[in-house]
Amino acid sequence: MRVYFRSGATREASWRKQQLKGLLAFLKENEGDIMKALKQDLGKHYAEAYRDEVGTLIKSLNFALQSLKRWMSPKKAELPLMALLSTAEVMPEPLGLILVFSSWNFPIGLSLEPLIGALAAGNTVVLKPSDLSPACSSLLANTLRSYLDNRAVKVIQGGAAVGEKLLQERWDKIFFTGSTQVGRIVMSAAAKHLTPVILELGGKCPAVLDSLSWNWDREASIKRILVGKFGTCAGQACITIDYVLVEKESLSTVVEMMKEITGKMFGENPRESNSIARIVNKSHFLRLKNLVDDPAVKASIVHGGKMDEDNLFIEPTILVDPPLESEIMTEEIFGPLLPIISLEKIEESMEFIKSRPKPLAIYVFTRSKTLERRILSETSSGSVTFNDAIVQYAADTIPFGGVGKSGIGRYHGNYSFEAFSHEKAVVRRSFFTDFWFRYPPWNDHKLQLFKTAYNFDYLGMLLVILGLKRIKASHMV
C-alpha cells in the first residue's frame, strides 16, 4: 500500500472525489443490507440506524465533496515587510498510510466517518472494524471493495489479536475510537514508531437540568434527554447522557415526566417496542446487570429495571440518587440506565463535574445566562451543548473530540481533513534582497541591526546603518 501511495495516485483531487462518490454509492445501494446488519448486531431500528449512521455519513460525504477543493488549496501566510519579496503559504498534504480502529456501537458510522477524512486528505487506509459487531464488520469487509480503490483501502477483520498485530506495524497516523483502556494500548504502541494518534474515547457525559419555569421547556428538555439516552443505541454511545443533575426541588416533577415520556416513546412494554436497541453481547449485558446488582443501587431504581438475558434486552431504567461511590456512578455506564442525582442548588453541578474526569460532552438545559457562563468557564470538556443533546455529532462545522481522559484530537467536516493531513509551510525567497548583516564575521554593528530588525524598527535600522543611532550597548566578547 505504501508503494501505491508513493505513486502519487491518491493525491489527485479526482481520485479522492471518486472514493467519496464510491462511499455514497455503497451507502445508497446497500442500505437494506446495512440496516439488516445493524439490526443483527445491535437490534437498532431502521430510523435510529439511518439517523445515527447512514444519514450522517451521507451528509458528511456531500459536505466533503463540496468542500474538497477548498480544503486542498494552499493558504497564503502573511509575512512582515522585513521579508521583502518573499512569499509563504501553508500547503496540506496527505500523511501516507492510516490505520483506523472503529468501535462496535456505531460500527458503520464510526468506521466510515474517519475514512471520509482520510480519503479526502489523499491517504491510503487500513480499517479494522470491531469484532463485537460481526455482521457489520463482514459487510464492510465484503462489500466496500467493489466501491473503493482496493489498492488504497483495505478492511481487515478480527479481534484483539489482529489489532495487536496491526499495531506492531508502522503507520503515518492511527485513528482510534473506543475505550480509554484500549486507547492507552494504542498510544503506547504508536509511541514506538513516533506515530501521531487521534483517540476518541469516552467518559461520563453529564446533563445538567435546571429548574425550568415553562412546561414547554421542561418537556422538550426531557424528551431530548430520553432520546439521547434510551434512543441512541440504548445508551451505548460515547456522547450519550450518562447521568442527570437536578435540583431537589424539581426532582419529583422531573421523575414523573420522565416516566410518562419514556412510556410514550418506548411503549408500556418496551421489549415489544422495536424502538430501543439491544445490548451488544452477553459480556456487556452482565457488566450492566452487575451495576444494578449492588443492593443500594437496586433500591434507587424508580422505573424499569427488567432485564432479559436471552434477548440481551434491558428496559429503560431510571434511578434516583444511587450512592456516588457505587460503580454506576464511577464507571461509564454505556447502557440504558439513567441515574438522576439531586443537588441542593443547581450551581453545585459545577463542582460535581469539575471534581471528575473531563467528559466528551456536557449537556445543559437552562435559560439562565449566568449558569451558561459558569459552565463554560469553570468546566472543561470536549464540547458543551445547551438545550439539546447528541445533535452536535451531526454538525460539520464544529470539531468533535475529547480532552483529558475523553481523548486527543478531533474530526468531522474540515477537522477530518486536517486530522489526516500535514500542513507544510512553503517559503519562497528572492536572491535579490540580501542583508549583509546576516553573515559573520560578527561585530557590534551587526548586532545592533539584528536588534532593530527583530523589532521591525525599520526607521531604526536605517539610522543604525547611517551611523545615526545606537541601541543599548552590550559588552563585546
Partner: protein
C-alpha cells in the same frame, strides 16, 4: 542543583492548585507574565550572552539572532494578539439545526511540561513557555542539563520575574526527566532527539497525555545550477550561514548535507571555501563567530563520524579538531559513501557532506527514499523542479532560496512530520498547541420537532431522510402532509 523527587511532587501540586484557582485564566495574568519575561530578558541580556558563551561559545550576535531576539519577538507578538486569540470564534451551524448557534472557545489544558534541548537552551525553553502562558496554563520547564549555565540562569531568574506559583523550573538530567514523566500532565512539549521523543511519548501514553514532539532529521539542501553568478554567491553564503552559523551545525533545521550536480561540484566547492574564509578567517579556531561543540560526548560522536576511513578519505576542506576547546573547524566532504553513518544519522555538527548527482532532478528521489526531514532547502530558479519538490516530497517545511528563516515567521507553523516529529508551534500555533478548542452548540427549546423522537413510524423515517438530504423544501411539504 538537581531537582529532587519531593520538589517535583510539591511543584506539581502547587501548579495544579494554582491552575484550579482559575488565576492563570485571566488575560491580565497572562499579559503580566509575558511582560515580565520581556523585562527579564532586557534586564539580564548580558548574563544570557555570558551563559550562552559558557555553554556553547556563541557570539553575542548569534545569541541575539537565534535566542534572545527570537524570544522577544515571540513575546511581543503574543502580547499584541492575545486578546484576539482568546476570543471565542463563531461557527456556522447547518440550517437543519436552526436556530442553533455554534462557537469555539479556546481554554487552557491545565499543567503542562516543557522539555527543551541544549542547542538553543534559551529560546527552545522560552518560546514554548510563551505559548503555554498565553493559553493560560501553569507550566513546568526542564531545560537540558547539557547546557548547565543556561539552565542555572533560567532556574535563578524565572522565579524572580514570573509567577513562581504557576511557572516552575526543574533542573537536572535523565533521572529528573524520568521522574517528571511518571506524573500526569495535561500536555507535554518536547524538543530533542527521536530516541528520547519515543521515551516521552511512551510515558505520556500511560496517562493519555497529548504531546508535541519537535525532533530532528537530516535536512537536505539542493543546490541547482544558477545561471547568474551573483545568485550563486548569495546561495552559497546562505548555505554557509545555514550550516555553520547556527550553533556550528548543531541545529535541527540546520543544513545537514548538500545535493549538487556533478559538473557543478568544483565551482560550488571553490565558492564554499572562499565564503568560509570570509566568514571565519584563515584560522577558524581564532574566529569569534563560530560556536563550540556542546560537550565531549558529542565531540567524540562527531570525531567518530570521520574515523570511518571511507569517510576520512573524502574530506576536501577542514577536518582539524581541538579537543580541549571542543572546537571543530568547518569541514567539507565530497561524496562520502551514502551508507556511512555520516549519511545515515543526523550530523548535528560542522561537517558538510556534498553528494553529487548526475542530474539535479535525482535529488527528489534521493530525498523521498529517506525519512521525512524537518525542512528541505532548495536553491533553484527552475519552476518545475520547485513544483516537483513540493508535491513529491514530504517534510515539516520547504524553503526555496534561503535557509532557516521559516523559523522566524510567526505566521508559519513550525513542526515536523513522521520521524521529524508531530505537532507545531510559533505565533498562534503556539497558543493553539497549548489550548483545547471547546465546541459549543447553543440549542433552542423552540421549535420542537416531533419526528426526532420515538416511537418510530414511516412518517418520521421519511422526515429523517429528507432532513439529512438537506431537502428543506421537501421537509416542509412533508410536514404539511403534502406529497411530492
Amino acid at each position: 542543583m538537581e531537582t529532587t523527587g519531593e520538589e517535583v511532587e510539591a511543584s506539581l501540586v502547587e501548579a495544579r492548585q494554582t491552575f484550579k484557582s482559575g488565576h492563570t485564566r485571566s488575560v491580565v495574568w497572562r499579559k503580566k507574565q509575558l511582560e515580565a519575561l520581556i523585562q527579564l530578558i532586557h534586564d539580564n541580556e548580558d548574563k544570557i550572552f555570558e551563559a550562552l558563551y559558557d555553554d556553547l561559545g556563541k557570539h553575542q550576535a548569534e545569541a541575539y539572532r537565534d535566542e534572545v531576539g527570537v524570544v522577544l519577538k515571540a513575546a511581543n507578538y503574543a502580547l499584541s494578539n492575545l486578546q484576539k486569540w482568546m476570543a471565542p470564534k463563531r461557527s456556522s451551524i447547518p440550517l437543519l439545526f436552526f436556530p442553533a448557534k455554534g462557537e469555539l472557545q479556546p481554554e487552557p489544558l491545565g499543567v503542562v511540561l516543557i522539555f527543551s534541548s541544549w542547542n538553543f537552551p534559551i529560546s527552545l525553553t522560552l518560546d514554548p513557555l510563551i505559548g503555554a502562558i498565553s493559553a493560560g496554563n501553569t507550566v513546568a520547564v526542564k531545560p537540558s542539563e547539557q547546557a548547565p549555565a543556561c539552565s542555572s540562569f533560567l532556574a535563578k531568574y524565572i522565579p524572580l520575574y514570573m509567577d513562581c506559583k504557576a511557572i516552575k523550573v526543574m533542573q537536572g538530567g535523565p533521572q529528573v526527566s524520568e521522574n517528571l514523566l511518571q506524573h500526569k500532565w495535561d500536555k507535554i512539549f518536547f524538543t530533542g532527539s527521536p530516541r528520547v521523543g519515543q521515551i516521552v511519548m511512551s510515558a505520556a501514553a500511560k496517562h493519555l497525555t497529548p504531546v508535541t514532539l519537535e525532533l530532528g532529521g537530516k535536512c537536505p539542501t539542493i543546490l541547482d545550477s544558477l545561471s547568474n553568478p551573483s545568485d550563486m554567491k548569495v546561495a552559497v553564503k546562505r548555505i554557509v550561514g545555514g550550516k555553520w552559523g547556527p550553533c556550528s551545525g548543531q541545529a535541527c533545521i540546520g543544513v545537514d548535507y548538500l545535493l549538487v550536480e556533478e559538473k557543478m561540484a568544483p565551482t560550488v566547492i571553490e565558492l564554499l571555501k572562499k565564503t568560509i574564509k570570509r566568514f571565519y578567517g584563515q584560522v577558524p579556531i581564532e574566529s569569534k563567530s563560530l560556536a563550540r561543540i556542546v560537550n565531549k560526548h558529542h565531540f567524540e560522536r562527531l570525531c567518530n563520524l570521520l574515523r570511518d576511513p571511507r569517510v576520512a578519505n573524502t574530506i576536501i576542506h577542514g577536518g582539524s579538531v581541538d579537543e580541549d576547546n571542543l572546537f571543530m573547524e568547518p569541514t567539507i566532504l565530497l561524496d562520502p559513501p551514502v551508507d556511512a553513518e555520516i549519511m545515515s544519522e543526523e550530523i548535528f555538527g560542522p561537517l558538510l557532506p556534498i553528494i553529487t548527482l548526475k542530474k539535479i532532478e535525482e535529488s527528489v528521489e534521493f530525498i523521498k527514499s529517506r525519512p521525512k526531514p524537518l525542512t528541505i532547502y532548495a536553491f533553484t530558479k527552475d519552476e518545475s523542479l520547485k513544483r516537483r519538490i513540493v508535491s513529491e516530497t514530504s517534510s515539516g517545511s520547504v524553503v526555496f532560496n534561503d535557509v532557516m528563516i521559516q523559523f522566524l515567521c510567526d505566521t508559519l507553523p513550525f513542526g515536523g512530520v513522521d520521524q521529524s516529529g508531530f505537532g507545531r508551534y510559533h505565533g498562534k500555533y503556539s497558543f493553539d498547541s497549548f489550548s483545547h478548542e471547546k465546541a459549543i452548540m447553543q440549542g433552542s427549546f423552540f421549535p420542537e420537532i416531533e419526528p426526532r423522537y420515538p416511537p418510530w413510524n414511516h412518517f418520521k423515517m421519511k422526515f429523517i431522510r429528507l432532513a439529512y438530504a438537506l431537502d428543506y423544501f421537501g421537509l416542509l411539504l412533508h410536514l404539511l402532509g403534502l406529497k411530492r
